[in-house]
Every structure is written in structure tokens, then in C-alpha cells.
């Protein structure tokens, strides 16, 4: 992590510690002048934006929304997974248990509408809890867009 986001360009005013010795007039040179000196007419360079508090605030908010969504989702999913195995001890064997194919065919029953999800949760089914966690996960990027703009 770096505290200063300001790009250390030799041209930015106030950078006394620049390794390259600035030529005369460099302290007063604006980025546009430097860009012109480098062969550009109306070029833009990273030093045009020394710091941007709005962007940094946005970055903090977006990062937090994503982190909360992700942690919440994984916690619910894991809780649902544990519930599933506690409710069905025959799933939890390493050998001679139920074959997993019974649960991974397109016809195996798992909630995929809001109504089914509600009923599964009301019945205390582990897979209902997993699906709830997955919904939180799938909604996280959408929420990010909502807060980010």
C-alpha cells in the first residue's frame, strides 16, 4: 500500500527529491508544457491528475460494498452447506454413501424461483440457505453499480 497516489513525475511541482536533476524552469513547468516538450500538441499525461478525492472516496465505497457482499455470501453458503450435510448424514460419508450424481442432474430438485427459495428456507433446508447465499453473491456486482454511480 502506498500513501501517496501522486505520480512522481519530475515535472510535478514540489518534488524536490526527484532523482533526475530538473533543468532550469522545470519547477514552473505545467504538465501541458512538458507534454508539448515531449512532442505533443495537446497531450494528456498522468500528472494532469495529481490527486482526486472524489475518485478515492468512490474506490473506498466500491471496495467496501464488494467486501461485505462477498463475506456475507460465503458465510451464508458455508452455513447452508453444513446444514445440508447435517440434515442428510448419508451425504457426508466418504465412501458407500449416496452417489453425488443424484444431486447434480438437471432434474434434481433445488430451488430456482423466489417462491421455491422461500419454501425451502421455511422448511429449514440447507440447499435453500446455499441458494440464498448465492443470490447475495450474484447481487453483489449489481449493488456495486448502484452505489458506484
Amino acid at each position: 500500500m502506498t500513501e501517496s497516489s501522486e505520480p512522481t513525475q519530475p515535472a510535478s511541482p514540489g518534488t524536490g527529491s526527484g532523482a533526475a536533476a530538473p533543468g532550469p524552469g522545470a519547477l514552473t513547468a505545467t504538465p501541458d508544457v512538458v507534454a508539448a516538450a515531449e512532442g505533443g500538441v495537446a497531450g494528456g499525461s498522468p500528472s494532469d491528475i495529481p490527486d482526486d478525492p472524489v475518485l478515492h472516496k468512490l474506490e473506498t465505497v466500491v471496495s467496501w460494498v464488494l467486501r461485505i457482499g462477498v463475506v456475507l455470501a460465503v458465510a451464508i453458503v458455508l452455513a447452508g452447506l453444513i446444514m445440508t450435510f447435517l440434515n442428510h448424514p448419508d451425504y457426508s460419508r466418504l465412501t458407500h454413501g449416496v452417489r453425488y450424481q443424484a444431486l447434480t442432474s438437471p432434474h434434481s430438485p433445488f430451488p430456482h424461483t423466489v417462491g421455491q427459495l422461500g419454501r425451502a428456507l421455511a422448511a429449514g433446508e440447507g440447499r435453500g440457505v446455499i441458494v440464498l447465499g448465492l443470490v447475495v453473491l450474484l447481487a453483489t456486482p449489481v449493488l456495486r453499480v448502484g452505489t458506484g454511480r
Binding site: S5, G43, R144
Partner: protein, 278 residues
Amino acid sequence: MTPLDLVILLFIISIAAGVLGSLIGLGGGVVVVPVLTLLFHVDIRLAIGASIVSVIATSSGAAAAYVRERMTNLRVGMFLEIATTTGAVTGAYLTTLLPARALFVLFGVVLAYSAVATYRKRHADQPLAVSHDRIANALRFHGAYYDEAVGKEIPYAVTGTLPGLGMMYVAGLVSALLGIGSGALKVPAMDLAMHLPMKVSTATSNFMIGVTAAASAGVYFARGQIDPIIAAPVAAGVLGGATVGARVLGKIENKVVRLIFVVVLIVIALEMFQRGVL
């Protein structure tokens, strides 16, 4: 094999998928789909549902760290999302009108070309200093990131906004048409067309793929393609892997990221050819 065995194995494999996906800005579907269909003989529709979960988990898990560390170029990402989303909506409308096989071959060619172009650029590590792109200048796309591998802040300028937008539109279009992740086109659009540093390209792609995938995730969910017993270990494993990968990206060199990306692009290109020809 019992459900517990499946969950444990999928969890371990998904960690690897999360690490890889977060490093190169793809969703991890490139690992998850073949593993589920070939190794576990899961129906392709459920495998694609799990892959969507994996994309969103990679994106959110890694982007939380990348955005905080300012590895992601938020302005570029949010701007380009407009093009990807428009492309995805167009693709959803066109999906029955275009021949899928020909598209797979065409997309395979595009990816193979991107792989060659990315490989050729492997030694070019100098970020752009000055940009004459009016849009990039007006919208202040230029930025800086702290590169742990070289131990200093790297400022960079952005160019090629219009070609970048075009490629992003195509990325959204193709991912909706073919039901595949869009990161494979997003990274070259930012790396090759817009001259963002490779790490910034993959981190920004990571940030964007979640939204693109979330747009279709609702449809997959309603169709019953997201099976909880498969998706749960995938989500948890990929999130864990993506968190680890997000720590690694800063430390490795841009060149290494490029080379990993090239290898994965070639694998996806071959897969596209196979689906188009066979």
C-alpha cells in the same frame, strides 16, 4: 463418489480457478466448465451455471482488493461497462439469428490473434507517458498504480478509447451470443488497444466481468442452472483463491502475467475451434 467427496474436490479445484482467474482477469470458467463436464460428467447447462457463479466470485473477490489498492482503473472500467452491457443486450437479441458454429470459429481466430499480439508485446513494459486521445484526456482516464514487483508507483496514460470501446462492445456481444466469459477479449482491449499496463488491464477486467456476468446470472438462476451442491464449493473455493491471487498479482512482473494470459488464451481459442468444427 459421495456428495461430500464432490464438495471437497470441487472446493480444492475452485481455489486454483480463483487464483488463475484473478491474476489474468478471466472468470475461472476456463477451469470450472471442463472440470465439471469431463471429470464429474455434470450436465453442460449446470456446468455453465456454476461457471457464472465462478465469474462473479472471482470478480467480486479480487476486485475488492484491486480497487482498494488502486490497481483497478475505476474510470476506465465504469466507462467501458457501458459498451459491454450494450453489446450483451444486442447479443441476447441476435442469439437465434446468427450461426453459432461459425461464430465459435471466428471467435477462436480473434483469440488466437490476440494471443500472438499479446505474446509479441511481452517485452514492451514501458507505460504510455503522453496521450493524444481526446476522450481519454477529457474523461481523465490516466492514472497510476503501485507496482510491488519493481517497488514504485507507475504512472500511465491511456489512449485508443474508441477502438477499446468497440472491442468491449464485441466482448459483450460475443459473451451473450456464445455463453462464454468476456474477459478473454476485455484484457486485450485494454492492454493492446488502450495501452493500460498489463496488471491494470487484468485488474480492471476483473472488476468488469462481474457486472457482465450478473446480467445473465438472473436468467441462469431462473432456468434452474445453478445447482447449490455444485455452486457452493465453487463459490467458496473461487472466493478464497481470488483473495490469494489478488495478493500475488502485485508481486509478479507484467511479463509473467502476459505469458500466463497467452497460454490461457490459446487454450480457450482451441476450445472455440473444437466447438465450432466438431
